[in-house]
Symmetry: C2
Subunit: 437 residues, 2 copies
């Protein structure tokens, strides 16, 4: 079932769509029209977007939103957020406003080092390999002098190469463990180019090395690549206030804070809670990561692996009460860039970075960490008070109404009705159906 295709990537966009229409849509004009509806009317702009990746046939819209009132250290930001999930931007904005009036968010970058490895097989005498490594180390570093010339000039580049014995994990496994400072670049291409050059030099030098020949076996490079595990590229953010700031008509501030801390304690010890808790944090972080043209898969992988670093997957945030003071904090690894990649290419990424006052990578790390902390604060506050469905479904109401192709008048009536009534998918459908009968 289905038709194979040859040379698809070589076809023009027009011909790709034509082929899809025949092979999968029975030449249904409506389906094809959908793709075209999303093309930009500016041909040159569209062409650039088409060239971001292979086989692009249309533009997938994610809402580009703004959450204002984020006070971070001594600056007020409006955060660009790209996310499709209703209620995330609203939650971020609410948390921002709450904390703006209570001293704002504080943040600091703990470290910015990234790493990459040349993964090596070697089954000979370890002492020979270590001795070889110390002999060629300077040549390895020298081999990337051209690649890292610009980065060095700006104060970054390779920091160190170490040979690591990983044979306790896997027989014959060694690594050239390289540490880098990539400044405002995320640095994936830079690091990978350095590593591949180092690997080539390492193999070339090993080929003529007498002691390996004597032993009858030298090292072999298996692969070289940067690591998205970035526990040395770490940022911290926190908020703090007196307990009575949480007091409302419904709840005493101390009781609220106790419930909040208890909720975080549960996320520290129980994986089923921790994963969802951290997922909520990533709603905030990824929205900023996407808006600023960074790679959310890299960030996600690094963050969740970090959450499991002690052998038990756990919460990325911490909450505590010291006497009358509540503190809520996050510590999270974020390898981000504000130059290179899509940052100077995607017009909305440029816009987002301008909105953020052209941040350095370190500043962006702090902003993204704050977005995560704010999101988590809003989520836990809802969870320990009203539950999340009330707010979430209120935001989702518009989607249900649009799905039913509700008119403006129907929408107005529904919004009025559901300010006092609980939203559910079936209740919304029933309400509109009743209006129409």
């Amino acid at each position: 079932m289905g038709i194979p295709v040859s040379g698809f990537s070589k076809k023009s966009k027009h011909d790709k769509i034509k082929w899809l229409a025949e092979a999968y849509f029975n030449d249904d004009a409506t389906a094809i029209q959908t793709l075209k509806k999303y093309w930009n009317s500016d041909d040159r702009l569209q062409e650039m977007h088409d060239e971001f990746t292979e086989n692009a046939i249309s533009n997938y819209y994610l809402p580009f939103s703004v959450a204002p009132n984020f006070q971070i250290n001594d600056t007020l930001y409006a955060l660009p957020m790209v996310i499709e999930e209703s209620s995330v931007v609203a939650a971020a904005s609410n948390a921002a406003k709450f904390w703006m009036n209570r001293g704002g968010f504080k943040a600091e970058v703990i470290s910015t080092v990234k790493t990459g490895q040349v993964h090596i097989d070697y089954f000979g005498n370890p002492a020979v390999l270590f001795s070889f490594f110390s002999e060629v180390k300077e040549k390895l570093i020298g081999s990337i002098s051209e690649i890292q010339k610009n980065m060095k000039a700006r104060g970054g580049g390779l920091i160190e190469i170490e040979l690591k014995d990983e044979t306790s994990k896997l027989m014959g496994y060694y690594e050239l463990h390289c540490t880098f400072e990539t400044l405002d670049a995320m640095g994936a291409n830079f690091i990978n180019s350095c590593l591949e050059e180092i690997a080539d030099t390492f193999e070339a030098e090993a080929n003529g090395y007498q002691a390996f020949e004597t032993e009858g076996r030298g090292p072999k490079v298996v692969l070289s690549i940067l690591s998205n595990y970035v526990p040395e590229c770490l940022v911290k953010a926190w908020v703090s206030c007196e307990l009575d700031h949480f007091s409302t008509e419904d709840i005493d501030g101390k009781e609220f804070a106790d419930n909040f801390v208890r909720a975080v304690e549960m996320a520290k010890v129980e994986i089923r809670r921790a994963v969802t808790h951290n997922k909520g944090i990533m709603n905030g972080i990824d929205a900023v990561v996407l808006a600023t043209g960074n790679d959310f898969r890299a960030v996600e992988a690094g963050v969740h692996a970090y959450a499991s670093r002690n052998g038990n997957y756990t919460s990325l945030t911490d909450a505590r009460i010291d006497e009358d003071t509540f503190t809520f904090s996050i510590e999270v690894p974020l390898a981000l860039g504000t130059v290179g990649g899509l940052t100077s290419l995607h017009p909305l990424v440029k816009f987002a970075l301008q909105l953020l006052r052209k941040p350095s990578a370190s500043e962006l790390m702090m902003i993204a960490a704050v977005a995560g902390l704010a999101q988590n604060f809003a989520a836990i506050r809802s969870l320990v008070t009203t539950g999340i469905q009330q707010g979430h479904m209120k935001m989702h109401l518009m989607n249900i109404l649009n799905q039913m192709e509700a008119t403006s008048e129907e929408k107005q009536k529904a919004i009025r009705h559901f300010t006092k009534n609980t939203v559910s998918h079936s209740a919304a459908v029933e309400f509109i159906e009743k209006l129409r009968n």
Copy 2:
């Protein structure tokens, strides 16, 4: 530094942008024009996209691409992929074509159960709590009969509620652990609505329960929410072929397969390799997740936590050689939906689901797992042969050229030049600058 704003979410889109222009862009018309350039010319369509989330001011484009020739079980698919990273779609397409001629991908769903928890504080006698639970269990289930009516009618709904003693992890911590079958819906709203109702009923019943009053302390619900940790919503995919299928002019098939297996072994034991390895898998999975309107943060959190389930973060894929046969497989938890949420709302999501022949959630789990496996195959194949930079930079060349605002003629010349020369950012810049002098 910066200006706070009140009632931002209540402003019209026009007024939001006006405020941003004043507060952050010094009324720079170009920046604002950028936002508007991305609006759809169809006002009604644009309005719907604006209503996906709060404070939306424009549409963020991600390329909507297609990777054809995916043979999965007995069906040939063209996969919709939404991803900004150059080379991912090309890599997926290459892997698809390679395996189409070698038996295709196989996949099966292992289980589809999701869970949610009511997290409870209780510091009394455990026996009293367990006895209370068994008395009220039927009432708890009864309390959601209205909510789950439709889901039940289709064969899904709540499967079971258990009371779990988590006090070994945290003093006084208990859970109502609920298992659900949500069929073709991802089910987050459904599960959360059920849990909040169960929690209300649980508290109401506990309030009047004699034995708690006698003890002087009853249970208290801290929060209720679904879990994004979904190890019981699991799918498996694999490929297999004879070793000599890998033979090329450059390498013997057996040697290639040995290197490949060794690379996977390294990703199993070393976290810095494993995280990047799995990140590559998620390039494929997330691209399908996004295209089909699913929530990639939920998927990412569940997948990476699963990778850490044995206490050491490890590879999601496995490779082995049995005599002359190579097998490469993935096992991954994926809670996806093909109804509800954005699936019937976002026109390109509808298109993507139609392209995938309107799959069930289980079918989509298999398709997404295959996309991840294909991506990982392509990545490892590059890593253990040419390295990844060659292919990656070739794909990235267009982005660099666009950044330099290269003309069509300059692009053609650059493409010709770099078929034979190594692409790097500086080499591309130099080449174009030379042309222009």
